[in-house]
């Protein structure tokens, strides 16, 4: 389903919320940056599969 947000939530403002959420959120925060760091090594195919997966949500 498409997002109905009319505001630009701004990437930084979305990501920092993970830290605000506490321990479970901080894990998400580090996972996000870890995935960003390792993305170039995981190869194109993996990244495409991942994007397709999240699109289906």
């Amino acid at each position: 389903m498409r997002s109905l947000a009319y505001l630009d939530a701004m990437s930084g403002s979305m990501v920092v919320q993970a830290v605000v959420a506490g321990v479970a959120g901080i894990a998400v925060f580090f996972k996000l940056f870890w995935r960003r760091l390792t993305a170039p090594f995981r190869g194109r195919r993996a990244a495409q599969v991942e994007m397709a997966e999240s699109d289906e949500r």
Binding site: L4, Y6, V28, R57
Partner: protein, 474 residues
């Protein structure tokens, strides 16, 4: 058929507010209408409406509306809202009022999240006050939560509610000029500059590290990222609706513990009723004059108590008017008055912080998105007690301009003139060069007043230095 589109309601394409014959209506497009129908079926919606936290809203049959209104941008459904007697804006609220509004916003979001709804925004302008009670008015803000998405309104909440509160709580800096300066509030960049160092002092750091320092740092680092990609990345990393609720709960906990230390200290005007030069007999005579003037005109619609101080006369006015707005420049006094009214559950006296020599102008897009104070406040009666000498002597406002201003407000007037010989006026005159306010005399004031108003009643207080007038515009 008086029909007008609300100039402040255009940012969200899913719905917008318009007025028809004095009714407040909101039209939704098909997506907005689907959200509304789902929302109206929830338990939290019913509960919050009953408690008065959410503006009363009822669906309207499209067939009952004139065609011109339903043609607006493909409307799929229309609702009618309860009218808020006088619209006020966050830069006219005190610290405690903004905090109460923020808590109301967060509580509704939490209640919504528990039933699968989030909010598209986090705007201080989503709230109004009905007397001393905050009420959430932007029903179009609710939308169904998407898995993996954080709160889209978090940044806006920071800019228009959290940062202003942090600034005043941690720095003692009044937030009102900042909110009035920009309808989108204080940016993370500016908040970081304003709160620099506030994180280092023990006990003064609540919220600064995460919401200001880290927020700004990540924001700067990710300035080139696309929001749609970031949403997908967050979802892939495991961000969930539960985490969104945890975020909002953490923000709520932070906001609830913020306090403004000045609120407990005496200010210029906080002890006015106790320390003023009135004797008891004089105060009783003045109260009786105000009472009988307003009673003669009752029932009144809206009464504006200008320079209302601790609300003594607003409470008298409340007996004869359906709604009272009390405006005063002293934020400490207004904050305390709000706290008392809020504790009583008062929904008929709205206290605002206003410098009457510099009232709120029109702001936002084309200067009409947020209207000027005296367009939103059109009183049927005006109280101007112990006010003229401040505006005329300290503020240098010429007496003819003052009388003209009251005349323009359109309502009846109960005004006090404090003679130059009175100790309070004398104290103000002593700050100015001798002879500068030579026209500040009772005869001059009376002549000007009688030119624009018909004076129905007048009384000299026992001191002989204070006059009261009850007048209606000519």
């Amino acid at each position: 058929m008086p029909f007008a589109v609300e100039p402040g309601s255009f940012r969200d394409p899913a719905g917008s507010v318009f007025y028809l014959d004095g009714r407040v209506l909101r039209g939704f497009d098909p997506t907005g209408w689907a959200d509304f129908e789902a929302l109206a079926a929830t338990r939290f919606w019913q509960r919050a409406t009953e408690r008065g936290e959410l503006v009363k809203t009822t669906a309207v049959e499209l067939a009952t509306l004139p065609e011109a209104t339903t043609k607006l941008t493909g409307i799929a459904g229309v609702v009618e809202h309860e009218r808020i007697p006088v619209v006020s804006y966050p830069f006219e609220w005190t610290f405690s009022m903004l905090r109460a509004a923020a808590l109301c916003h967060l509580d509704l979001l939490l209640a919504g999240l528990a039933e699968g709804f989030t909010m598209k925004d986090g705007y201080a302008y989503n709230l109004q006050f009905r007397g001393a009670r905050p009420v959430f008015i932007d029903v179009g803000s609710f939308t169904r939560v998407q898995p993996g998405e954080p709160w889209a309104g978090y940044r806006q909440f920071c800019q228009t509610m959290l940062y202003p509160l942090l600034l005043q709580a941690h720095r003692g800096v009044r937030f009102q000029p900042f909110l009035r300066g920009a309808v989108q509030g204080i940016t993370p960049q500016d908040a970081r500059g304003l709160l620099r160092g506030a994180g280092r002092r023990a006990g003064r750091r609540a919220g600064v590290l995460k919401h200001v320092v880290l927020h700004q740092a990540i924001d700067a680092r990710m300035s080139g990222a696309r929001a749609s990609d970031t949403r997908k990345e967050l979802a892939a990393a495991g961000f969930s609706a539960e985490l969104q609720a945890a975020t909002v709960k953490a923000i709520r906990k932070l906001v609830a513990k913020l306090s403004w230390s000045e609120a407990g200290k005496p200010s210029t005007w906080s002890d006015y009723q106790r320390t003023s030069t009135y004797t008891d007999a004089e105060r009783e005579r003045k109260e009786a004059f105000v009472e009988r003037s307003l009673a003669a005109a009752a029932p009144l619609g809206i009464c504006a108590d200008l320079g209302g101080n601790d609300g003594t006369y607003a409470r008298i006015a409340q007996r004869h008017a359906s709604y009272v707005v009390t405006a005063d420049a002293d934020a400490v006094t207004v904050d305390r008055l709000w706290q008392r009214l809020a504790a009583e559950g008062n929904e008929r006296i709205l206290p605002l912080v206003v410098d009457l020599t510099d009232p709120s102008p029109g702001l936002g897009w084309r200067g009409t998105e947020r209207g000027p104070l005296f367009e939103r406040l059109r009183p049927d009666a005006v109280l101007a007690l112990a006010l003229v000498h401040h505006l005329a002597i300290s503020g240098n406002v010429p007496l003819p301009a003052l009388v003209d201003w009251w005349h323009g407000l359109g309502g009846r007037l109960v005004v006090e003139f404090v003679d130059p010989k009175d100790p309070m006026a004398d104290r103000l005159l002593a700050n100015k060069p001798a002879g500068m306010h030579g026209d500040y005399r009772r005869e001059v004031f009376e002549r000007l007043l009688e030119q624009r108003f018909e004076v129905l009643d007048r009384e000299e207080l026992p001191s002989g230095t204070r006059m009261l007038y009850h007048a209606v515009p000519r």
